[in-house]
């Protein structure tokens, strides 16, 4: 079996600690593993397809692009594992409690604060939700974007926090925030509890996924997934890594939770059908 090479995006310095820890943990089980870090997801996906890395720790949007690129090239990418925390997220469109708004349609002519241009959870999915309510972002509603950490596909919390602050401070009429961050912003006081109300929320969707690329040795990728799935929260060596990476256990990868994002990508033209990059300015 060959050593497996993983690509991951360094959205935070802790990513180094995490994957060094995984390398040590996997090495302790006789599995040869190494990683390379990317400054953003686009190059990681391109390298996955080109076989320069075997597996990629992909954002949902990176998964969508990888799938499209693979389909266009007639090769395969497979979802091999995901965190328990990657399943069934939802994003809320939040307004101030005292606003005279009762349905998404009431946002016509108003301003909606979103996260970074490439954030699936704080921009693409909620804007798609507005479209399905008959509001075209940019023309029917004004979109106030918060481009923190572009290239990181919304992994950086800053865009969402700025969107929440824009809502709080009256610079926007609504803000798009994930359920977890809405709870966090309430608890930390960024949004005073009780000061906001949920106007609408997306259907459940899935987040990150470990994708095996066309260059990966199949047995090696399967062994990797098997080892991840066997990581126990009871293992004192594994637990700090799981805590850092934000999960209590690994689950098999599933691809049923990305349909809404595929649609959102098509609607916005973020990528074309073949995974080509189309939409606007992506400079970090």
């Amino acid at each position: 079996m060959n050593a497996l090479l993983l690509g991951a995006v360094a959205y935070d310095p802790k990513v180094v600690t995490i994957w060094e820890g995984f390398r040590r943990w996997l090495g302790g089980r006789g599995f040869e593993f190494d990683f390379v870090l990317y400054s953003g997801y686009e190059r990681q996906v391109e390298d996955l397809l080109a076989g320069r890395v075997d597996v990629a720790w992909n954002s949902p949007l990176a998964w969508v692009r990888a799938r499209r690129l693979a389909a266009a090239a007639g090769v395969e990418v497979r979802a091999v594992a995901m965190r328990d925390t990657d399943r069934d997220l939802t994003t809320a469109v939040v307004v101030r409690s005292d606003a005279p708004l009762t349905s998404p349609a009431d946002l016509r002519g108003r301003t909606v604060a979103v996260g970074a241009a490439d954030s699936p959870q704080a921009t693409l999915l909620p804007l798609s939700l507005l479209r399905s309510a008959g509001l075209e972002p940019g023309s029917d509603v004004k979109v106030r974007r918060h481009d923190v950490g572009v290239g990181l596909h919304g992994d950086h919390i800053g865009g969402e926090r700025e969107a929440a602050i824009a809502l709080r401070d009256g610079l926007a009429d609504a803000a798009c925030v994930t359920d977890a961050n809405l709870l966090l912003f309430g608890r930390e006081g960024t949004l005073v509890p009780g000061s906001t109300r949920v106007l609408a929320q997306t259907a459940p969707y899935d987040h990150c996924v470990m994708a095996a690329g066309p260059g990966a040795d199949r047995a090696s990728a399967e062994r990797f997934a098997e080892l991840l799935l066997g990581m126990s929260y009871a293992d004192p060596e594994a637990r700090p890594l799981l805590d850092l990476e934000g999960l209590t256990r690994w689950l098999p990868g599933r691809t049923s939770g990305y349909a809404a994002l595929e649609a959102a990508v098509d609607e916005s033209g973020f990528y074309d059908r073949e995974g080509g990059v189309r939409a606007g300015d992506r400079r970090p």
């Binding site: 328990d84 925390t85 359920d179 977890a180 709870l183 929260y233 637990r239 209590t248």
Partner: protein, 391 residues
């Protein structure tokens, strides 16, 4: 039927998770908890909260239903208690780290890197009582001494006081650093020894303060510091073994130091000098008590340790063979203070008093060495090898 918890209007963004957690604590993994409440974001918050903690949440019914995950149980699956709360373990596990004695310690995390983790290498049965006594006997240098009571002494008497104080301060520096080092390398499971050493360090800090303050009460600068005295103290710092350090510092050094402090109290030419030496002597007696009890404890567990104690004394004696010992300025000052005047007959009395002090120190050392387990002849021999610098 699932268990139910009612949050009423409370949200998970204002502490509601505490009620949920409390209800979940009574369930096994797979157990179900119905969460009622009227907070408008209850379901949304629960979804996020449960996901992060490895619980599943079902929103189909009339109120959210949590299916408890296993993460909490798994986190504590390999946990062990850091010994028993009411009992000192024979060996403290480095993996207990800084945990309280008897605490339930989550597995994992870095082990504590300390050298002294075995009870019989650091313990004395009297440690808890000595600590309690030390805590009760702490005094405030600002109020325990009447600093205005010094009065004016003749210049040469004041000089003698300043010189002795200067000498005391450098001894206190060593007496502070040695237990601080022992403390830094001690497993905190041996809490009472740790606390006692910490109190000892604090005692020495006060001694440094009061002796410094007395030295500078009437003078702009302290006296002299001889190379021989500093060499003698330096050998105390070089001892890295817990018990040998305690033995050399407390049993032999501080034991002799107590006699010196009592001597100074007796012959003090002014009330401030008397007060500071009396207060310090009281603390020192406790330091000596631990050193003696601890060394005796080690010897009881391992009688062969006597030969290591003996070697430590001999090694120190060898190291100091070519040094002067107590510097002349200090020994002369002690005579002047004991004399109380420059009359030849008084100087003679002072001289005799210092000679008696040396023999009292020797008797004390022999008594303590015998208590630890040395035969009388060996105790006398070792006492004679003790540094001429007193500490």
């Amino acid at each position: 039927m699932p268990v139910t918890v009612d949050l009423e209007t409370l949200g998970l963004d204002t502490g509601g998770h505490l009620l949920v957690q409390r209800a979940l604590a009574g369930l096994r993994p797979g157990g179900r908890l119905r969460v009622r409440g009227s907070h408008p974001q209850l379901a949304l918050h629960l979804g996020a909260w449960c996901r992060a903690r490895g619980h599943r949440v079902e929103l189909a019914g009339d109120a959210p239903l949590i299916v408890k995950g296993a993460a909490d149980e798994l986190r504590w699956a390999g946990a062990e208690r850091a010994g028993l709360p009411g009992q000192v373990s024979g060996r403290a596990d480095p993996r207990w780290g800084l945990a309280a004695r008897g605490a339930l310690v989550e597995a994992g995390g870095p082990p504590l890197d300390v050298a002294w983790a075995e009870r019989d290498l650091v313990w004395a049965e009297v440690a808890p009582r000595l600590y309690a006594r030390a805590a009760a006997a702490q005094w405030d240098p600002a109020t325990a001494v009447d600093w205005s009571a010094a009065g004016d002494l003749p210049d040469d008497v004041e000089d003698a006081v300043v010189q002795v104080m200067t000498y005391l301060v450098e001894n206190e520096h060593a007496a502070l650093i040695v237990p601080a080092r022992m403390l830094a390398n001690l497993h905190p499971h041996f809490r009472e020894v740790m606390q006692l050493l910490a109190a000892q360090v604090a005692d020495e800090a006060r001694h440094v303060e009061v002796f410094t303050r007395r030295a500078l009460l009437r003078r702009d600068a302290p006296g002299v510091s001889g190379a021989g005295g500093r060499a003698s103290l330096r050998t105390l710092l070089d001892e890295t073994d817990f018990t040998l350090a305690s033995f050399l510092l407390s049993v032999l050094g501080e034991g002799s130091f107590v006699d010196l402090l009592k001597f100074l109290d007796r012959h003090a030419p002014d009330p401030v000098t008397a007060a500071v030496t009396r207060l310090a002597a009281r603390d020192e007696a406790r330091h000596v008590a631990f050193g003696v009890a601890h060394t005796a404890h080690v010897v009881r567990a391992d009688p062969a340790f006597l030969s290591r104690l003996r070697t430590a004394v001999e090694r120190r004696h060898e190291a100091l063979r070519d040094t002067a010992g107590l510097n002349r300025e200090v020994s002369d000052s002690l005579v002047v203070l004991a004399a109380g005047s420059w009359e030849p007959a008084a100087i003679r009395r002072g001289w005799d008093a210092v000679r008696r002090l040396r023999s009292e120190m020797d008797e004390g050392r022999r008594r303590r060495l015998a208590h630890i387990g040395f035969p009388d002849d060996e105790a006398a021999e070792l006492s004679a090898l003790h540094t001429r610098n007193f500490m």
